[in-house]
């Protein structure tokens, strides 16, 4: 089948067949799983941010008529190893703060679990948990990451004498020469505040231990079924072959659900104690206070430039507020911030020092964008500020520094190897789509009337698919390479099932994998099913993460489908008495090229391959199945390099501090597009997370370490009323290093939207004499900036 074939599925805007279960309420999320004899768990959590546990008394709790068991931290620590941590690259230092699944001696953040109870039903489990008596001796609380670094500060972990959990240093090019050549250096402290992914489905697990088989079956809300299985095996000292993890439908993950949740380990222990299935479903309050926090970084940057606007080098010290323990993923969002400081620009020198500091907050880890949100914010904001200082237009200074198509592939000074595209063309298209010159004139006219609109501009090259984390137990560091292994099987009816070891978290794997496989095989889209997330039936996989599906998993799907196609062709050739190379397969039928009358249905082909094996020549094995692997190129830490230009337009009311996003233009290029409707959905959804992150969402702690924003009444997600319509412009430069030319893009929107929205607000108000270098840009913060300006002016 040639690529130009009519009816090819790749590239079409197709609705998702998998939607049928979601729109009819027939999907299966983890809380929908009900097993015979299942009981319910609830956690006893610390009310203190830092305290010594003096005693845990479960007597009263166990007297509750519906109480089944109480597992304390002291018991859990004996029965399990600490939670894992490792680094994505060689670290200056990585010490593992002992991170137990239940705190045994000390608690280090509010709502850290100290015990888990089991009861016969959901409500009784909460009742029983309330009856567990824990005596605490409060300890001094560390809430400021900079104070945490001071020598005089209390130490949160015995093995971390300076409260630094992880330290990475990276450099490239000649930073000294870059700064020596400079006419000017911009020095700023940038800060992004603490917030998180908050998928609408909280965490949840059903763990079911079978004594007879010594087998543990785990249904979990997770992005990483296979990796979770490997971790559970190590943490529980339990044979990996006897663990089966099933990730059912996932109600959002956004990187947060890459976590190996301590609670999941505790629930597994509980099930093993009881010999019964145990369900735990997190509340929103638990989710916001004890799941995963993200984004919170201080970035002290220096950017050297020439007076003609040429950028020379960037040096940056990054301080990450890691919270109370190091999550397994901690190095990713740290390293991401550092690596993305160079933007899509030609720079001569780079230096970055990255430190993770411990505080009495919820642990910090991955959230869509994986660190790049901060790097992109710093470089894009710096470029704007340099343009302002030099009196240059923001688009023109970028044009001057952008890496050009003929320079690709291009290795940045931070070590990223960009693959293909035309960044300046994307910029031009964005300026055109937003009608930049006209908008600037409008903006000037409106300013005279005291109405402040801002035109945001941010661009970046995003890394999709990370060559990390496939060696699950890599610690402190081993080199890794991402890969996918795909099994594809035709059954006796001629229908095809694809088996993938990750899980779709809204990322449309069903439709996109089917489009690619249908084209490669020559079957109809509706004849393909996808099975994901069950470690017992799918090949090992590193999970749904880092926008790796299109660039790493899809090439595996295509390869496996082609392999199956050649098997189909061999059997069909035998039936049709032709040569395999003369067989064409289209719409579920095989025929001899140029001889449509000599046709056999794939159903018939499958029947022969499975059930009439006696008729096959001995060199054709029975069955109809193929398994193939695709190994990601290792030129760089990431596999493919999509890019975007984002231009939101906002209006800021300086009296109320409220920012309204009026319109939003996205120009993006993710190589060959499998399904443009899915691509747009990802780009827009990720962008709205940036709007929320910059303008609304904030995890606020008080000085005692109590979280003040632990419900959706205080932690404000954007609603339909706070977001604009989006205008998405597509470019498609194939990735030369990937068969099919696909590039991942699921993190997409979020990577750019932070910098873009910040830039828009800055453009609206900076002419009033303020400077925007930190988030959130909430109404309160904007009013505060205006007041401070008034004081300075007075």
């Amino acid at each position: 089948m040639s690529d130009a074939d009519e009816g090819a599925y790749v590239g079409q805007r197709l609705a998702r067949p998998e939607d049928r279960r979601f729109i009819q309420g027939a999907a299966t999320y983890v809380d929908d799983v009900a097993l015979p004899g299942m009981v319910f768990a609830a956690f006893v959590r610390s009310p203190h941010a830092h305290a010594r546990i003096k005693s845990v008394n479960a007597e009263v709790a166990l007297d509750h008529p519906k109480a089944l068991h109480v597992l304390t931290g002291a018991e859990a620590v004996k029965a399990s190893h600490p939670m894992p941590v490792y680094s994505y690259e060689p670290a200056q230092k990585i010490e593992k703060p002992a991170y137990p699944c239940l705190a045994a001696e000390r608690v280090r953040f509010v709502n850290e679990p100290v015990a888990v109870v089991a009861a016969t039903d959901r409500y009784s489990a909460d009742d029983v948990a309330e009856l567990v008596e824990v005596e605490y001796e409060p300890l001094p609380v560390l809430m400021d990451p900079e104070v945490s670094l001071q020598e005089s500060s209390a130490k949160l972990h015995d093995n971390l004498p300076n409260n630094i959990g992880l330290h990475l240093v990276r450099q490239g090019g000649d930073i000294k020469a870059a700064f020596a050549e400079a006419d000017g250096v911009l020095r700023r402290r940038f800060r992004m505040h603490r917030h998180t992914g908050s998928p609408i489905e909280p965490r949840g697990i059903v763990a079911s231990y079978n004594v007879g088989q010594n087998a543990l079956t785990v249904y979990a809300s997770t992005q990483i079924p296979h990796i979770l299985k490997t971790h559970l095996s190590e943490i529980l000292d339990f044979p990996e072959s006897n663990i089966r993890v099933i990730a059912p439908d996932l109600g959002g993950g956004f990187g947060n659900k890459l976590q190996v949740a301590p609670e999941y380990v505790a629930v597994c222990l509980l099930s093993m104690r009881l010999g019964a299935p145990v369900k735990w479903i997190e509340t929103r309050r638990e989710s916001l206070s004890a799941f995963i926090h993200a984004r919170d970084q201080i970035l002290d940057a220096e950017i050297a430039y020439k007076k003609d606007g040429t950028l020379l080098g960037i040096s940056c010290n990054i301080l990450v507020d890691a919270g109370a323990y190091l999550d397994a993923r901690i190095s990713g969002p740290t390293l991401g911030a550092g690596l993305w400081l160079t933007g899509p620009y030609r720079l001569k020198g780079y230096f970055c020092d990255m430190k993770e500091t411990m505080t009495n907050k919820c642990p910090y880890a991955a959230y869509r964008g994986f660190g790049s949100t901060k790097g992109v914010f710093v470089i894009e904001r710096s470029v704007d500020l340099i343009a302002n200082e030099l009196g240059m237009d923001r688009a023109e200074i970028r044009r001057k520094n952008l890496i050009q198509p003929e320079e690709l592939p291009y290795k940045t000074v931070s070590g990223l190897v960009y693959d293909s595209g035309d960044y300046e063309e994307a910029l031009d298209r964005a300026l055109q789509a937003v009608d930049y010159q006209k908008l600037k004139a409008e903006q000037a006219a409106l300013r005279k009337r005291g109405k402040y609109i801002g035109i945001g501009l941010a661009m970046a090259v995003e890394g999709a698919g990370w060559n990390t984390y496939t060696a699950a137990m890599a610690r402190p560091y081993v080199p890794t390479q991402d890969y996918s292994t795909i099994t594809i099987r035709m059954n006796l009816s001629g229908r095809v099932t694809i088996y993938i070891g990750d899980t779709s978290m809204g990322t449309s794997h069903g439709v996109t994998a089917s489009q690619v496989a249908a084209d490669a095989l020559g079957v109809r889209l509706e004849d393909i099913d996808l099975v994901e997330g069950d470690t017992a039936v799918t090949p090992y996989d590193s999970g749904t993460r880092a926008a790796r599906f299109a660039g790493v998993v899809i090439p595996g799907v295509e390869k496996a489908a082609k392999s199956l196609r050649s098997k189909v062709a061999r059997v069909a050739a035998h039936i049709l008495e032709a040569a395999p190379e003369d067989i064409e397969i289209r719409s579920g039928e095989a025929f001899v090229r140029g001889l449509r009358s000599k046709t056999v249905t794939l159903q018939r082909v499958a029947q022969v391959a499975f059930a009439e094996v006696w008729s096959l020549p001995p060199d054709i094995p029975p069955g109809m199945e193929a398994t193939e692997s695709f190994r990601a190129p290792r030129d760089s830490i990431c596999v493919t390099w999509p890019y975007s230009v984002h231009m939101p337009v906002v209006e800021v009311d300086v009296e109320t501090g409220i920012t309204k996003v009026l319109k939003y233009v996205i120009v993006h290029d993710c190589g060959t597009e499998i399904n443009p409707m899915v691509v747009e959905g990802q780009a827009v959804g990720g962008s709205v997370q940036g709007i929320g992150g910059v303008l609304f969402e904030e995890l606020v702690y008080d000085e005692d370490g109590q979280l003040l924003t632990s419900t959706f009444m205080d932690y404000l997600l954007p609603t339909a009323c706070e977001v604009p319509n989006f205008d998405v412009v597509h470019m498609a430069t194939p990735a030369p290093q990937i068969p099919g030319g696909y590039k991942g893009m699921g993190e997409g929107g979020a990577v750019y939207s932070y910098a873009a929205v910040i830039s828009a607000v800055a453009d609206a108000i900076e002419h009033l004499g303020v400077e925007v270098t930190s988030t959130p840009l909430s109404p309160k913060r904007i009013r505060q900036m205006m007041r401070e300006r008034a004081v300075v002016a007075a």
Partner: protein, 163 residues
């Protein structure tokens, strides 16, 4: 003291004995009737994932006690498709890619049902306001608005006669 609750859910009579007075309607629907299409996302009436129709009006079933449903009629997302035919809102969400992970989707569909029953031809702004009580973390709402517009247009053309 536990109660017996008699309701009509999705047009069918249901009698459930021994229901705790504190049981929430959403848990009654999910755990007792096994209608798991209605989801829980926030426990504080903010996210709307648990939205169902209560005597035809949208309510958030995480803040309604199950005992309140005694003698009343409840419609969940499972009750929308008729004779194997999707409701235009269900079809609209699929057609316009109005969902990604799907967790919030039943709540949006039920809230939009209520909206269209009150206002069959809403403007974009009216749709946004009408769905303000529902949170979606995946789509950015863009395609949800289009899905409701699609459904409104198809309902107006008489392609389906029920909301």
């Amino acid at each position: 003291m536990n109660r017996t609750i008699q309701t009509r859910v999705n047009g069918r009579k249901s009698i459930e004995e021994n229901v705790e007075p504190r049981m929430l309607l959403v848990h009654f629907l999910r755990d007792r009737l096994r209608l798991t299409g209605t989801h829980v996302g926030c426990d504080s009436t903010n996210c709307g994932a648990c939205t169902v129709l209560f005597d035809g009006k949208a309510v958030k079933s995480c803040t309604v006690l199950a005992v309140r449903a005694h003698g009343h009629e409840v419609t969940t997302v499972e009750g929308l498709a008729q004779n194997g035919k999707l409701h235009p809102l269900q079809a609209g969400f699929q057609h316009e890619h109005g969902l990604q992970c799907g967790y919030c989707t039943p709540g949006f569909i039920m809230a939009a049902c209520d909206l269209l029953s009150r206002n069959p031809a809403p403007t974009e702004q009216e749709i946004r306001l009408g769905l303000e009580g529902n949170l979606c973390r995946c789509t950015g709402y863009h395609n949800i608005i289009k899905a409701v517009q699609w459904a409104a247009a198809n309902l107006a053309e008489g392609k389906s006669d029920h909301v």
